[in-house]
């Protein structure tokens, strides 16, 4: 398959950052199309023509459109030359996929709920309510309209927030334990699981310094620093436009 690669993404973070970092690690040059998620760029007709679900990221390769960040990463690894980002051993390949799903579907939604309630919601409440309501009405997926409304109007329930906090704490413990078993998260070499996990966890030392630090989570911190030190990570995070990307700075510090 030949043709230009265009990635439609937001900040190097969560789902957007996964294919971004995979492309850079792989050495694939791509056109970066930045979408301002908090400006609702991803619900405008130009982007809905590419991804009718109105979620970020999406990638085009030649005339083909791809969505679903984790599936895009596997595609990037298979469709382009460059260093392999999946192990060769079938058990290790299974483990990479297992951890990506655990992070994508069990852990990340809890990060999102907390992030949206403390960050996205308050930011939106500074803006014209009529404009925000109109923007929410344009969201194609009904589930996402619900999430946006909960964030904007502060409607997350105490029970679901507590459950999200429980999962984040447990997720940190599970990642720490797994990273105590081997250098990289799911296989002997750097893989898509590390790219995925970094995008989820890179902000933790800055946002939860009491839980994620050299003393309590030495393996998690070691791993985050090792990924941060990779040239691809630097290049990728340079594509960020907001202060979010700055949360990486704490990884510059060396262990005490």
């Amino acid at each position: 398959m030949t043709g230009r690669v265009t990635l439609y993404h937001w900040e190097p973070n969560a789902n957007s950052g996964k294919p971004m970092l995979a492309l850079v690690e792989k050495g694939v040059s791509f056109d970066s199309h930045y979408l301002d998620m908090l400006g609702f760029d991803h619900h405008r007709p130009a982007y809905l023509a590419i991804n009718p679900e109105g979620t970020i990221p999406a990638m085009t390769h030649g005339g083909r459109v791809l969505t679903e960040s984790t599936a895009i990463m596997e595609y990037v690894d298979e469709a382009f030359a460059g260093p392999p980002l999946m192990p060769a051993d079938p058990v290790e390949r299974w483990r990479v996929r297992w951890w990506m799903k655990f992070m994508d579907q069990w852990l990340a939604p809890s990060f999102s709920m907390i992030g949206w309630s403390v960050f996205v919601g308050p930011a939106m409440r500074q803006r014209d309510p009529a404009e925000i309501e109109a923007a929410i009405e344009r969201i194609p997926l009904p589930e996402r309209r619900t999430s946006w409304r909960k964030a904007v109007y502060g409607l997350f329930g105490e029970e679901e927030m507590a459950e999200s906090r429980r999962r984040v704490a447990l997720g940190i413990d599970l990642l720490e334990a797994e990273l105590g078993k081997r250098e990289w998260l799911a296989s002997d070499g750097f893989s898509l699981a590390d790219i995925n996990g970094f995008n989820l966890a890179y902000g933790l030392p800055a946002t939860r310094p009491e839980a994620v630090n050299d003393q309590q989570t030495p393996n998690l911190i070691r791993w985050l620093r090792a990924i941060y030190a990779r040239p691809a990570t630097r290049a990728c995070w340079a594509l960020g436009r907001t202060d979010m990307a700055k949360r990486l700075a704490v990884l510059e510090e060396q262990p005490a």
Partner: protein, 250 residues
């Protein structure tokens, strides 16, 4: 390689992995466990791993290979496919493989939780097993056993099942036999979750001739028929255990 597949009755994820094993021809020893009685918890000799306790799939089959306990039916099928050379259950072309993986992601995120919810509501397990490490899975067991079903979630699950069937019908609209090229992962996984839905979400299947014909074709396919023949009950599609959770974030 010493591979043992601990599987439940041929329905849902157990059916998908059994069919995948037979289709690829990878040698695995089969051990039946009662997933609906919670035998996965403590019933897999020697296996202790986060991947067993925190499988997003809930109560699915477990493949133990040389002491490593692996879970999650889509990835177990990928494993079997990788062992067999990588292109029996999925197409060889990267874009066609992306289509299959993106399909399966949608299926397990939207349709599987709905099917498992409807299934356990209709056929609740008898008791909550002891030793469930994962608190949210334990809560899903608790709800299933006590029949604390939420009317809104039941309605939502029927709607999601119907949306799933709508997508299958659309995928088959050009007259193809299988969802993506040759029969494979997407067919087995989709069939596993949908084959028991007729009595539970009848309206979802009304006026869906292509889906009905596809269901019959998959059922008659040799690897699936062989998996179904392992049933120890007359209607394995009615045996359910708590599955993946209903998406808590859009």
């Amino acid at each position: 390689m010493n591979a043992i597949l601990y599987h439940g009755e041929p329905n849902g994820p157990s059916l998908a992995v059994l069919a995948a094993a037979f289709e690829t021809g990878v040698q695995v020893a089969l051990r039946r466990i009662d997933l609906a009685a919670g035998e996965r918890h403590g019933g897999i000799p020697g296996a202790q791993a986060p991947e067993l306790d925190y499988s997003v799939e809930g109560e699915g089959p477990v493949l133990v290979v040389d002491g490593v306990a692996m879970t999650d039916s889509v990835f177990l099928a990928c494993y079997l496919d990788d062992v067999a050379g990588g292109a029996i259950l999925r197409p060889a072309d990267p874009y066609a493989r992306w289509q299959v993986m993106a399909w399966c992601r949608w299926l397990v995120e939207r349709v599987a939780p709905a099917a498992a919810y409807l299934g356990t509501a209709a056929m609740p397990p008898r008791t909550v097993p002891v030793g469930i490490a994962n608190a949210d899975l334990a809560e899903r067991w608790e709800q299933a056993v006590t029949g604390r079903c939420d009317a809104a979630l039941l309605a939502d699950s029927r709607a999601k099942t119907a949306a799933g069937v709508t997508r299958v019908e659309a995928q088959l609209a050009d007259g193809r036999d299988w969802l993506f090229g040759a029969i494979g992962l997407a067919d087995f996984e989709t069939y596993g979750w949908l084959c028991g839905m007729a009595p539970l979400a009848a309206e979802a299947l009304v006026g869906r001739p292509r889906t009905a014909a596809w269901l019959a074709r998959v059922k008659a396919h040799p690897s699936v028929a062989r998996a179904l023949a392992l049933a120890t009950v007359p209607e394995p599609e009615k045996v359910w255990a708590p599955g993946p959770e209903i998406n808590r974030w859009g």
